[in-house]
Amino acid sequence: MKTLDRNGRHPVRLTLNGMPEEGFAEPRMLLTDFLRHEIGATGTHVACEHGVCGACTVRIDSKAVRACLTLAVQADGAVIETIEGLSEADGSFGPLQRAFHENFALQCGFCTPGFLMSLSDYLERNPDPTVEEIKIALSGNICRCTGYHEIINASLDAARALRERRQQD
């Protein structure tokens, strides 16, 4: 395993939502801090910093990961997807965003990036989930505003929209 100088700042190069990004991180810097404060991608939020609430969920190499439990240097060379990459190429809402918007599935919006990224991951693996499956899939994400009902409805709508899109492709 590579060992890094604990006081040094090390280059971290990664692909963020399709674009190459580069910055420097001390070995102990969290990926959340790197994304937010080194690169300036503040869409990913930090709410518990102990891996329970799911707000910081991003996708690293296509897997949903807690960015607050990941060190920036671990993400060197990785392909990272965050909420900032969910829109269509023209900037309009993508299917997940649209479904959340239409269903009033967010209020303060602080947990929302984590929900969207968890769903982005989950709906690829299970394109046609039941309500119960969605509830389980989202059990690692805490929302304190909505009561989840609208989020579940939005998830079903998003799954449907994504399936239809796949059929068209």
């Binding site: 001390e26 102990r28 810097m29 801090d33 937010r36 991608a41 503040t42 869409g43 990913t44 939020h45 930090v46 709410a47 518990c48 910093e49 102990h50 891996g51 329970v52 609430c53 707000a55 965050t82 909420i83 900032e84 969910l86 829109s87 809402f93 965003q97 959340f100 918007h101 239409e102 269903n103 009033f104 967010l106 209020q107 303060c108 919006g109 602080f110 947990c111 929302t112 990036p113 969207l116 969605i134 509830k135 389980i136 989202l138 059990s139 690692g140 994400n141 805490i142 929302c143 304190r144 505003c145 909505t146 009561g147 989840y148 009902h149 609208e150 579940i152 409805n153 079903l156 709508d157």
Partner: protein, 997 residues
């Protein structure tokens, strides 16, 4: 598939208000472009703050040594309680009290997690390193955590200027309660204990503070939520003109639910820190800090007594409250209990009331605002009592509720404690809920379940839902004489500004400081309707700036203020703009002002739509051509409404107070089943109805109800801030303080009853966000009481607790089952263990190793320093971690009862920023197979941060450490990283980490 419960387009005739207009806020939030405090760029050179916090519930601070921290590169300043006491004044509360509160502990700490020292360094990582290097020495004092026990004469006292922990006691008599009780056919009493909880927003406290040399004050950016009356408290504490304390709120705040009111003491501390550091300072609170030391709702003990007739008509009520506010009072505390004072009789026709309020200090986190603000505690008592009266009179609880409710023809109804209930038809709402929610079917389910011998119950709860607080109600904590001296306090001013620019574009700014409720959308709807536009034509900015915006002391987002107050202010400001534009247009259209109308972006003659002028042209005239305006019309178009309701009068001489402006009504019923084998309570069906008058946007309103249901479900089943009797805090992570997720939250069935708009608000709207905080906890409790036939229901309904309430005939197990290494009370942060291990060296050699600090230093995990102390003791520094926390401990271990080289006892203590531990243990060395068999046992108790992150995690970490220590001992004795100690633990750890432990 949308399945909205509130009908689409509640008021379609009026344009956009009442429609499910999609949220404007989503456009940025769903793209990751929100503007929360931590998203806002800061100046280069901005420092980051961290706090050293108390590991003790009650202790004297004997010394603070920050020299090592200040010597660290990148550390700029340290502020202690002594600095605060010199440079600031105590933060005031709404009544004379014996508490000097400075935001940092002065002389004493009074709860686990209390900030003791603030430190500023170049980044958050270094600030936390520096905090760990600050050495605080304590002398521990006895603590008190129960509010009734805290009032006992011999209880440990928190504040030296008071001889009692009860810092305020007020007694209220409304009507003739003594007569009512003396003449009552029946009386009964019940004592309830409502737990401590909060709603823990996803975004924690966040602030950026910078000294401003022009004003001599500070520029602050924070997610403070209001009320802005507290701005005054901060400025006074900092000895500033209020105008020199400029506060800005960013456009987004990640939830609050009341919590972000009491960020203000931190702002005061950060101002002092920024001044000392001569740099801007930023602070983002972490989750442990938030859970242990930010804001909680007061837990409360209430003795409720009722006088009633044999047919269940309640004629009198006595409420004796012990409201537990933790270690300090922070403005506007103790407001929750007074916010509800006017509706102490809920929605019932009860004309005789006696209330006694004890405001009590204990060694727990101080309180703040939490959604529901005094309502959950009050209604738990009142609605539990209504259920008791039903049981005692042999009636259906629903009939007792119906019988006692205020009648429709009594509105507006002045409750005996002073609330002026504006509108409603409570019985009708109940009937609509019962009908649409199909209570009959639920009763059939219950009867079927009971016929099978299952434990099934139905619960009911009604609530009056106050909205828009009277800023004068807190004065009810004072006596009439004190109020007279202080001068009148009343009203609740809301401010909204509507401006039309030179191209007719509309800007709205407001003082509602939203945290996700969709205020931008709702205000755009209201203003668009007044001006004949669409919400997309209106730009609403709700970030605030005290230096530039219209605001008053009531500004902020709390107590369901928006729907009555901000909506009214927006309506008023937009109406003034409309009137002004109508006058300009009238001259151009050649019609009287009264005949001007606004439709589809045009201003036109009401009876001739073709006689029209575009909206933007009138806007343009006001800016580009003042000379063309009618004589008495000022140029430009910008109207600020400072809206207030005359019904919000001050507390009168009889202590009657109209605590809020508008009062909605909620009624819930539910069916629950209790599993007699596990104590698990399952919600089988839950129906909820809320009459909140005019609904501004059904999508937003429904979101508030469902959100309130979720947090109320948490309060009912999961959420509690737990303290040991000695004040040790145990709920420091989301793994201990459990909140509902999608997986466990049951569905709620919403009934939309006939709305009864408020006559006192411009649009008839009342608050909707807090209803289920009031009803759900007690509705479920009443159902459990019905299922089990018991009286004393305490939340949260954890299965172990419920199981104790169920009388079972099952015999106890023949012998206690203690799994290997799992002795000790589950969840309690005590670590017990024992084991044995073979060391490849004779006992004499092992004995010598154990007493040799140099060799021990090599063996003890994380040991930085170890020295002999006295004849048979050690002192040292070790760095240890458990789960998400890691820190440096100063440890001292003494060996006693030495019997060389056979056995000894150990007594030890370790203290550090993460907490304290006290422990004892023993070991025995037995010669065996040319080596030594080491037998050991230990028992360690924890407090502070380590305890707060949870026993389970700490136990695992501790065993891991002991395992490492013993293996180190084997290595030191010359063994080859020898065999694992007996007992399954090290094997388990090795399996977990996939190799050598």
């Amino acid at each position: 598939m949308p399945d909205f419960a509130i009908p689409e387009d509640v008021r379609p005739e009026d344009g956009h208000v009442g429609r499910r207009v999609p949220r404007i806020e989503d456009r940025s939030l769903l793209r990751g472009e929100g503007g929360f405090v931590d998203d806002v760029p800061v100046k280069k050179g901005t420092l980051h703050a961290a706090f050293v916090r108390s590991p003790h519930a009650h202790a004297e601070i004997t010394a603070i040594d920050a020299s090592a921290a200040l010597a660290m590169p990148g550390v700029f300043a340290v502020v202690t309680g002594a600095d605060m006491a010199t440079e600031t004044d105590p933060m005031i509360v709404g009544f004379e009290n014996p508490i000097d509160y400075y935001g940092l502990a002065v002389d004493k700490v009074r709860y686990v997690g209390e900030p003791v020292v603030a430190v500023a360094a170049t980044d958050r990582y270094r600030a936390e390193d520096a905090a760990d290097l600050i050495k605080v020495t304590y002398s521990v004092l006895p603590a008190v955590v129960d509010p009734v026990a805290a009032c006992a004469p011999d209880a440990p006292k928190l504040h030296p200027r008071s001889d009692s922990n009860c810092v305020s006691k007020r007694h209220f008599v409304h009507g003739e309660p003594d007569t009512a009780f003396a003449e009552a056919e029946c009386t009964t009493e019940l004592t309830i204990r409502y737990p401590r909880n909060s709603i823990t927003p996803m975004e924690t406290y966040a602030a950026v503070v910078e000294a401003n040399s022009e004003t001599g004050g500070f520029d602050v950016l924070s997610n403070f939520q209001g009320p802005f009356s507290v701005h005054t408290v901060m400025a006074l504490a900092l000895r500033l003109r209020t105008a020199a304390l400029r506060h800005r709120s960013p456009k987004n705040s990640g939830g609050s639910f009341g919590s972000k009111l009491v960020i203000f003491p931190y702002i005061v501390v950060l101002c002092v820190l920024a001044r000392k550091a001569r740099r801007p300072v930023k602070w983002i609170e972490d989750r442990l800090e938030h859970l242990s030391a930010s804001s909680v709702a007061p837990n409360r003990v209430t003795r409720v007594e009722a006088a009633y007739t044999k047919d269940g008509t309640v004629t009198g009520l006595r409420l004796t409250h012990w409201d537990d506010h933790g270690a300090y009072l922070r403005a506007p505390m103790p407001a929750p209990i007074y916010r509800m004072h006017g509706v102490s009789t809920n929605g019932y026709f009860i004309r005789h009331l006696e209330v006694t309020n004890h405001i009590v200090m204990t060694n727990k986190c101080p309180t703040g605002a939490v959604r529901g603000f005094g309502g959950p505690q009050l209604y738990f008592a009142v609605e539990r009592m209504m259920q008791r009266v039903a049981v005692l009179t042999g009636q259906d609880p629903l009939d007792v509720i119906r019988k006692n409710l205020i009648s429709a023809e009594q509105f507006p109804y002045k409750a005996v404690a002073g609330s002026l209930l504006d509108s409603g038809d409570y019985r009708r709402t109940v009937e609509e809920a019962v009908g649409q929610g199909d209570l009959a079917a639920l009763k059939t389910r219950r009867d079927a379940a009971r016929a099978e011998g299952r434990l099934y119950g139905i619960g009911y709860a009604a609530c009056v839902e106050p909205s828009q607080s009277n800023m004068g109600y807190i004065s009810t904590v004072k006596t009439g004489l004190e109020r007279e001296r202080a001068g009148p306090k009343d009203g609740a001013v809301a401010s909204v500004t509507v401006a039309v620019d030179a191209l007719g574009s509309v800007n709205v700014i407001g003082d509602s400081v939203p945290q996700g409720q969709g205020h931008q959308t709702a205000l755009a709807q209201i203003v668009a309707d007044r001006l004949g536009l669409t919400p997309d034509d209106v730009v609403v900015s709700l970030d605030t700036d005290t230096a530039k915006d219209g605001w008053s002391i009531a500004a902020g987002n709390y107590s369901c203020r928006f729907a009555p107050a901000s909506a009214s202010a927006a309506h008023q400001a937009a109406t003034r703009v409309r009137e002004k534009m109508a006058r300009i247009a009238a001259a151009n259209l050649n019609v009287p002002v009264a005949e001007v109308d606004f439709t589809d972006g045009k201003i036109h003659a009401a009876n001739n739509p073709d006689n029209a002028i575009p909206f933007y042209r009138i806007g343009g005239l006001a800016h580009w051509s003042p000379s063309s305006l009618p004589d008495d019309v000022e140029p430009g178009i910008r109207e600020t409404a400072m809206w207030n309701a005359p019904e919000l009068t001050p507390t009168n001489a009889k202590d009657e107070i109209n605590t809020s402006l508008a009062y909605g009504f909620g009624f819930d019923f539910c069916g629950v089943e209790v599993d007699p084998a596990t104590g698990v309570v399952t919600v089988d069906s839950y129906v909820s109805a809320h009459d909140c008058g005019t609904i501004l946007n059904p999508g937003l309103a429904e979101g508030q109800i469902r959100g309130s249901w979720a947090s109320a479900y948490g309060a009912t089943f999961l959420e509690e801030f737990c303290y040991e009797d000695d004040g040790t805090f145990r709920s420091g992570t989301f793994a201990e303080y459990l909140v509902p997720t999608a997986a466990e939250l049951p569905e709620i069935r919403l009934v939309h009853p006939t709305p009864h708009p408020s006559p006192y608000t411009r649009l008839g709207a009342k608050g909707i966000a807090e209803g289920n905080q009031y009803t759900t906890p007690v509705c479920v409790a009443n159902a459990v009481a019905d299922a089990l036939g018991i009286e004393d229901i305490q939340l949260p309904l954890k299965p172990a607790k419920v199981l104790e309430w169920i009388a079972t005939e099952e015999p106890p197990p023949s012998a206690a089952v203690v799994p290997d290494g799992e002795a000790g009370e589950p969840g309690r942060p005590t670590i017990d263990g024992s084991g044995e291990m073979q060391v490849p060296a004779p006992p004499e050699q092992v004995w010598a190793m154990l007493l040799d600090p140099e060799r021990m230093a090599r063996i003890v995990p994380g040991c930085e320093r170890l020295e002999a102390a006295g004849e048979s003791g050690f002192t040292g520094t070790v760095v240890l971690g458990a789960g998400p926390v890691r820190g440096r401990f100063e440890a001292r271990i003494d060996l006693t009862d030495l019997e060389a080289p056979r056995r000894a006892r150990l007594v030890g203590a370790a203290d550090g920023p993460l907490g304290s531990s006290r422990g004892e243990g023993a070991f025995e060395l037995v010669e065996q197979d040319g080596g030594t068999l080491v037998r050991y046992r230990y028992s360690v108790e924890l407090s502070g941060k380590v305890a707060a992150v949870g026993g389970r995690m700490v136990r695992g970490a501790a065993r891991h450490l002991i395992d490492r220590f013993l293996r180190g001992l084997i290595r030191e004795a010359g063994g080859e990283d020898g065999p694992a100690p007996s007992g399954g633990l090290s094997g388990r750890i090795r399996r977990l980490v996939g190799g050598k432990a």
